[in-house]
């Protein structure tokens, strides 16, 4: 796949050549709306958006367009998508420089996963309640039973196809609305999300009941 013409011209112009500025202008004319949209997507005031946009533009041109030269035209990704990923990451860098890193850490992620598993356990009728495991720490028999149930739920979940697992993750861990999930997963409408959720949960209930029956 050939590089976009504006990018080709930009990368072939020497840094101090007379054509470098013109090539950079041409690149911005074509891609500024996309870069501005990316900067805007992270929210904030108009000034914050423009600061982010200016930061992205400066970083893209830095060191003779070093970041743009990193794009590899090998058919693995289109330039536009790569540019959006790169620009968004630069926007996040700008945010961190300005405000520092967020306080989120692995414990927060682990907490969200526990909450998600609890919600899923409720919906599938599983007897597992992650909280019970902590309560049963002094009761070895009960603890073993709960860990076994928990393990069965995890086993059944891990056997699901990737798209089903992702849908559950987006719904229960990230707490996204059906419309957002439909957009991310390429589904035609939120109703397809609900239908698939219903099917997945019914399947999980059936698998868990069969598992419990087999376990005797």
């Amino acid at each position: 796949m050939a590089l976009p013409a504006e990018l080709e011209r930009l990368l072939s112009a020497g840094p101090e050549s007379a054509t470098a500025d013109e090539a950079w202008r041409g690149f911005l004319v074509r891609y500024s709306p996309l870069l501005l949209k990316t900067a805007r997507s992270l929210g904030g005031s108009r000034d914050a958006v423009m600061d982010r946009y200016a930061y992205v533009i400066e970083r893209l041109r830095d060191e003779d367009c070093r970041r743009l030269r990193a794009f590899q035209d090998n058919g693995r990704a289109t330039f536009v998508t790569w540019l959006v990923v790169t620009a968004r990451r630069l926007c996040l860098d700008e945010y961190r420089q300005r405000y520092g890193r967020s306080g989120r850490n692995r414990d927060d992620d682990a907490g969200r996963r526990r909450s998600a598993r609890r919600a899923l356990a409720d919906l599938t009728g599983s007897d597992t309640d992650v909280g019970d495991i902590a309560d049963a720490v002094n009761d070895p028999a009960r603890l073993a039973e709960l860990e076994s149930q928990h393990s069965r739920l995890e086993s059944v979940l891990s056997a699901l196809p990737y798209s089903d697992r992702m849908l559950l993750t987006l719904r229960f861990e990230d707490d996204l609305a059906a419309r957002e999930i439909a957009e991310i997963m390429g589904l035609a409408s939120p109703f397809q999300v609900y239908r698939r959720l219903d099917r997945i949960l019914a399947s999980l209930r059936s698998l868990l009941r069969r598992d419990a029956f087999d376990a005797g």
């Binding site: 976009p4 911005l28 501005l36 990704a77 330039f79 998508t81 790569w82 996963r113």
Partner: protein, 192 residues
């Protein structure tokens, strides 16, 4: 719902891998590795969702003006701030193009094995492209707008093997003016 937490700190996908995954152009092994990572990393899931929305929704009309104005402002700063460069007036817009320049559709054309990617030749100075895929009775089954010359058809759009489809691309060279390509047919080859 997710496998045991993966060590995410050192395994976030590169920009190329994330973009390739969004575009569905990675080989199966790499695609699977990224999927496993996404299941365990909320940060990368957020990035994937955001990038997908950004590349699939068109830039709103007002965004083009805002982009042009922002570009003009920044270019003025760049030109004035650069030592040794002449202080010429900044021209943000290229001259109007010849109306005869229309996109040439590259693939899919005729009988194809798959039609997940729509590719066309760029039109000089085009600001944006609007593409439409029609079924054999003229219903639009997919529409999109992009500044690129490649569009990935989402999974929710299914082309029935053996059925004829038609597609066209319109290039926007000036605000409000669109030049359409010829309507090009294709058929996804039925699997024997």
């Amino acid at each position: 719902m997710t496998p045991p937490a993966a060590p995410v700190a050192d395994s976030h996908p590169s920009a190329e891998l994330m973009a390739g995954y969004v575009d569905r152009q990675l080989p199966p092994a790499e695609q699977s590795a990224i999927e496993q990572h996404l299941l365990g990393c909320s940060q990368c899931r957020q990035e994937y969702g955001a990038v997908r929305r950004l590349v699939r929704t068109p830039v709103p009309a007002w965004g083009r003006w805002a982009g042009a104005l922002a570009t003009a402002a920044l270019l003025t700063l760049v030109i004035w701030g650069s030592a040794g460069r002449s202080r010429d007036a900044v021209h943000v817009r290229e001259p109007a193009r010849d109306a005869a320049s229309v996109p040439r559709l590259q693939e899919p054309r005729g009988t194809v094995l798959t039609a997940r990617r729509l590719i066309w030749q760029p039109v000089p100075n085009a600001l944006s492209y609007r593409l439409t895929v029609f079924d054999s009775v003229g219903r639009a089954v997919f529409e999109s707008e992009t500044p690129d010359t490649v569009e990935i058809v989402p999974d929710s759009v299914r082309f029935t093997p053996g059925q004829s489809y038609f597609w066209k691309v319109e290039a926007q060279a000036e605000w409000g003016r669109w030049a359409p390509s010829a309507l090009t047919p294709f058929v996804v080859k039925p699997v024997p």
